[in-house]
């Protein structure tokens, strides 16, 4: 079977459903071994783009290439190079974790060792005999990841991998994603959690109403909006105030210091949430 290089390139991808445009002329260039994050609020078109890239949907126009191969020409066998977890992908609830993976091991012609390794990788070795329906949401998420990791794919498509998980479970999954990157895998993830994107991603794209409104490294994107820097001051009377970090604030700051009203102060840089709001006027969680 031909292996696919993990690079992803899209050119002017568009998609509409029943006359409503969901994706408008999407251009992406993701390098092999990169963690790429697609950020946007619900309904922005993130899942649709993953579905197009993984062959579940055809674009209305535009092209996409994975490892230089047109996605329309990627065979079913070559898709084995993809590890996919979609938010709505289910598990066989009556079957235990091992049997859940055994089905897919059978389809891909993998051995028992592959199943055991995948379960070990996601920390579910002790739960292999537990019915999937009895797993917590975090463990179910890990089982889905195990299914995606099992074929040792070159590219991972993760749709909202930590959605609805508690911080500890999300941190576990972040660790696994970073581990995959260390092994040279390309990771394409969608999320609406900006801290997740900042922590994990080499590059991100902010998607709003089907259009990419910003694209680049998270820090560089934030830096573009440095004029939104503020000064947070904690006053001696217990109040917190936030003022723009510009020359107009100099007098206020000087006065607070000279009168001894300021206890602490620090600058705050714009985060992705602020950037997204600045560009779209919407909140990421909307």
């Amino acid at each position: 079977m031909r292996k696919l290089n993990g690079s992803i390139k899209t050119s002017k991808i568009s998609k509409s459903f029943s006359g409503k445009t969901v994706l408008k002329s999407i251009d992406l260039d993701i390098k092999n071994g990169e963690i790429f994050g697609l950020l946007g609020p619900s309904g922005a078109g993130k899942t649709t783009l993953i579905r197009i890239l993984t062959g579940q949907l055809s674009p209305d126009s535009g092209n996409a290439f994975i490892g230089g191969t047109d996605i329309r020409k990627i065979t079913g066998r070559e898709r084995r190079c993809f590890g996919i977890t979609m938010d709505d992908f289910g598990v066989y609830e009556r079957l235990n974790c091992y049997d859940n993976l055994k089905i897919f091991a059978g389809i891909y012609g993998l051995s028992k060792a592959n199943i055991k390794n995948a379960l070990k990788k996601v920390g579910l070795s002790n739960a292999e005999k537990t019915a999937a329906g009895k797993l917590s949401k975090g463990m179910t998420g890990r089982l889905k990841l195990a299914r995606a990791f099992m074929t040792d794919p070159d590219i991972l498509f993760l749709d909202e991998p930590t959605s609805g998980l508690d911080p500890a479970a999300a941190a576990e999954i972040h660790k696994m994603i970073l581990e995959e990157k260390r092994h040279g895998k390309t990771v394409f993830l969608t999320t609406h959690i900006m801290t997740e994107a900042e922590k994990l991603c080499d590059n991100i794209a902010l998607l709003n109403d089907g259009k990419i409104v910003e694209y680049g490294k998270p820090k560089e994107i934030c830096r573009k909006f440095n004029d939104k820097k503020t000064l947070k001051i904690h006053l001696t009377d217990g109040r917190d105030i936030e003022i723009p970090l510009d020359k107009n604030s100099a007098e206020t700051v000087a006065e607070l210091i000279s009168t001894g009203k300021a206890e602490t102060m620090h600058t705050t840089e714009p985060d992705l949430e602020t950037v997204f709001m600045e560009i779209t006027g919407k909140e990421l969680f909307a």
């Binding site: 459903f17 649709t48 579905r51 993984t54 062959g55 579940q56 949907l57 055809s58 079913g76 066998r77 898709r79 084995r80 996919i84 979609m86 709505d88 992908f89 289910g90 598990v91 066989y92 609830e93 009556r94 079957l95 049997d99 089905i103 897919f104 059978g106 389809i107 891909y108 012609g109 019915a131 299914r147």
Partner: protein, 234 residues
């Protein structure tokens, strides 16, 4: 072929833990053993319960099992995962269909043993039961394919199942019902089973079953094309 075997094995493991499906396969074969041994009424036709329950079995088990299995996979979004894993929709349906067929065939063997069929009569019984199973499977598959979830599937499957499995029994008591039931394959199969060893298969039997089969295949094809091309529309 490998994918069909994987789906078949999955169904075997899953059914052992799925009482709703398991009971469909076991209920009538167990009932026939009990009733044939427990109820002895004077002038009752020979193997009355075998003939009665065999038709109810093929009208019920394959139809409800196919629709329940497919609709559950759709509802829980596990079918999507299978299709994304390079399992073709035809492979999936053949895998599930062959599993349901074998389970129902096992039930048919129990009916044949309890009914003491042998030789040509046994071959005729198994053949006509097999035709009935396939027809009910196709009908159940259509319902499962077109339903969004298990509740919708059950809402359609139960009345359809009742028509095919209970009409032949009710037609024993009412001539009008019998006239209506004649257009269903289950009534024709009931007639054939009742006439095994008495008279042969009639032209009416063959024509009605063939028309039912053609209709089921047409419906199945339409549902298959509609659903599996609809994957591209989300």
């Amino acid at each position: 072929m490998r994918n069909i075997c994987v789906i078949f094995r999955k169904q075997v493991i899953d059914t052992l833990k799925n009482k709703t499906i398991l009971i469909q396969f076991l209920m009538f074969p167990v009932l026939v053993i009990i009733m044939e041994n427990a109820v002895k009424i004077e002038n009752m036709p020979e193997h009355f319960f075998v003939k009665l329950f065999a038709v109810m079995f093929i009208g019920m088990a394959p139809l409800t099992c196919m629709s329940a299995i497919i609709s559950e996979e759709k509802e829980k979004k596990t079918l999507r995962v299978l299709l994304m894993s390079n399992v073709k929709s035809a492979e999936y349906l053949i895998g599930v269909g062959s599993y349901v067929f074998i389970m129902c065939a096992a039930g048919t063997v129990i009916f044949a043993i309890v009914g003491s069929y042998s030789g040509v009569e046994l071959a005729q019984f198994i053949m006509v039961m097999s035709v009935g199973i396939v027809l009910s499977e196709l009908t159940g598959a259509v319902i499962g394919i077109l339903s969004k979830n298990q509740m919708t599937a059950a809402g359609v499957a139960v009345p359809v199942m009742m028509i095919f499995s209970f009409l032949p029994m009710l037609s024993m008591f009412n001539e009008t019902i019998k006239n209506v039931a004649r257009i269903t394959y289950s009534q024709q199969i009931s007639d054939i089973i009742n006439n095994i060893g008495v008279s042969g298969i009639t032209a009416e039997n063959i024509i009605v079953i063939t028309v039912n089969f053609a209709a089921a295949v047409a419906l199945f094809t339409a549902a298959y094309i509609k659903q599996f091309s609809a994957i591209n529309r989300v």
